[in-house]
Symmetry: C2
Subunit: 514 residues, 2 copies
Amino acid sequence: MSMNGAQSLVTTLVDCGVDVCFTNPGTSEMHFVAALDMEDRMRCVLGLFEGVVTGAADGYARMAGKPACTLLHLGPGLGNGLANLHNARRAFSPMVNVVGEHATYHRALDAPLTSDIEGIAAPVSGWVKVSEQPQQVAADGAAAVQAAWGPPGRIATLILPADTAWEGPAEPAPALAIPSAPAVPDASVEQAISALRSGELCAFLISGNGTTQRGLNLIDQITRATGARVFADTFVPHIAGGVGVPAVARLPYFAEQAEEALAGVRHLILVDTKAPVSFFAYPGRASELTPEGAKVVQLSHIGDDSLPALEALLDAVGTPEGTALQAERPRLATGDLTPGAVAQSLAALLPEQAVLVNESATSGGALPGFLAASPQHEMLNLTGGAIGMGLPAALGAAVATPGRRTVALQADGSAMYTIQALWSIAREGLDVTTIIFANRKYAILQMEFMRVGAQNPGPKAMDMLDLSRPDLNFVDLAKGMGMPGMQARDAASFNAALAESFATPGPYLIEALV
Amino acid sequence: MSMNGAQSLVTTLVDCGVDVCFTNPGTSEMHFVAALDMEDRMRCVLGLFEGVVTGAADGYARMAGKPACTLLHLGPGLGNGLANLHNARRAFSPMVNVVGEHATYHRALDAPLTSDIEGIAAPVSGWVKVSEQPQQVAADGAAAVQAAWGPPGRIATLILPADTAWEGPAEPAPALAIPSAPAVPDASVEQAISALRSGELCAFLISGNGTTQRGLNLIDQITRATGARVFADTFVPHIAGGVGVPAVARLPYFAEQAEEALAGVRHLILVDTKAPVSFFAYPGRASELTPEGAKVVQLSHIGDDSLPALEALLDAVGTPEGTALQAERPRLATGDLTPGAVAQSLAALLPEQAVLVNESATSGGALPGFLAASPQHEMLNLTGGAIGMGLPAALGAAVATPGRRTVALQADGSAMYTIQALWSIAREGLDVTTIIFANRKYAILQMEFMRVGAQNPGPKAMDMLDLSRPDLNFVDLAKGMGMPGMQARDAASFNAALAESFATPGPYLIEALV
């Protein structure tokens, strides 16, 4: 039987290794939906909102190490997914968006759903193409997958007019070669070695390969051998942690604390990241965080094959004696339920090889300290500052890691941007434990309001930074989407609920009133 | 005391008549928030998600007849609001977006939240400007308000770098003149008169002024005098209805039904709209709906001063005898709770001057028939096909119409896109009754899947068009956001809940299991 364009595209995507589709389709995507239905090798996960779809594809890519595809409904559907595409772009997550479009001959008529899809896609995409012909769409799909891989990973957006999908005959296209990661130039390695041997204070700022278990172990040895400091990017997309993985501090979020952390550094060695800048500008404060006069050594860029470079550094500086200190696993917290108590009990109970999706915002400060002494795990973080990434990314991460427990560490304000993710997690029966840090305010904004030098806030301003009146109840919200949950008001009830969730397959939500 | 840029902007907006701000701010907007706090004349309404914010500004504009402003957080915040900006653009709603941006000197550093805000804004905006100077921002704000007014109404997006907001001194700018609506050329009126006198079948397709109470009365008389047909745009932004307002059919959604409705028409007279095209393209079916050979008479464009032109038409064709037929007010429905029963009981109980916000999708077919005999009301409809407009628009419409009851008629699938609006409605204590038509599927897509000629759906495709497994429970969702509600399974319980809600100030949600 001959294929139509949609069928040729779906087969090609799967042949290229893209076998999960996060989807929120509309009429113009019905032939693609039919084609998904015919391809047994493609798993489909429905989201009730496109921000869930794109955030899930991001979380999936970070854990699976390969792209998923999304299916989005024209410009508005893409627009709804834009914030989490922004985060995915900042995480260098590979992703293939398939965005439905009106039939080619229908576009010029300016029907109600018509919009400039390429224009909407461009700011978040590293690759955009409209597939004008059913005979071309399979090759375009293969090119999209290739583009998504990078390196570094990118958002590839393939716009699929409805008649490109429904017309035929069309044939699948072969997978294209994925470029391998560029080697780090010897000169960069030499520069880093010189810095480490200079006798002046060096600091590593790391992301990408540098925050994998292997990277962290290499950098830990290098820094112990040389006295260099090390910081992970404040918004590192993915970081390994737990017993056997050297703990590494993240560069602090607030500019003045970051400046303090880097004070005295003369050589800043960048591994898979770029020179640090403050997240926001503040009146009277510098935006660039590299200490004045310090030399920046760009050892590697994101997407580079940087682990051999780190090995070369270690060879040059020599393996240190001893091993990194290892803290004792925390016990369960008792008493009041504070953000710190949540972190402590989480570390006490965390199962092996858990996946932590961290959008805890101001409530997450105690997590790294406690988690360093918990079983090995991986943590995904908010990269682009577009809140609403956590629950969708937990959905996608859980799809990518069957048999492991995913824990969503979620601020309440941020949770509300993409709360619909709970339904997809429930529908898929995923092993996701969601912990809502419910402080009932945009706490970060109450801090920032003061920090930016705005006047003392009156009641109207505070109302805009406050989530009470009425209080949100996340257990009711979860229940409304078919997910069980409970509210925890003290450490004891939190501990019991967390232990129960970790022991029970499927999803659960704990609203931690902190 | 001298003002900073933010203060000069807020004062200018209020001086220009923009005195409601729907907001979801972030750090880069803190000085604007502080300025809002200092301006007593500006009402601020917090949304927990930007799609709520922009949809509310749309609903507000349609009912208040003037723009609100929004406050959005950089590119991702704007992106989250994009779908409802698309709808607002299609509704020709005036709106001023204030989008925070990094400080001017911070933009080049590519901090995590940096994105191409102008690029994201352009596809939905009729006017975009970055305000680079605190001394310029007030004048830019006045220009944005002017641009928003049109005519026709437009989305004006003012991008506000943080240092433009916090630096000074700055002064408010005077309001700019709002251009008046262009008169309809005599030639267009003559052309329409000729068509009406031709003896050939004429049809009006109307929107804008044509669907106000005055416009509907004029067109009703013209059509009764001439035998012309009349249809409102399928996705008319605003339409008056009820006793004393001539009922008018909307052009059917599905192309084949629209073709049938227009069959035989030789002259298509367009009032504040353009020639009809099908919402989507379908294989083997024409996209343009004007009957072959029919002449299109563009009486007026949206934004024109079109009521005098309709008066001239009526003068020319002569006032008909008699009055329009008026149906009897429906009684309460009994028995099973069907979409038709919901419409019937709604019409039976509707209070005077209610505002109906209609995103009922496939469940709304019976509404126009029953509502024609209910008390006078106004109805807002989904214009751009980007679902998730209903609950936010109900929020905004209710803010614009204190003392009146707003009724959100809401499909379940669409409701989930912007469900966060319930919290803002609850927080503001607005008189909004939300009726969820819970059929637990994307019913329109199940129809469209068949209509586009896709293969018989398998279970995987059906799963993507289905909202069950698990069932959503909107009463729990409402409760989680501080809004009371109940589930209705038969007409009797629905009637009781609806009557109770209409008699009780404040919001209420009824999940109608239809």
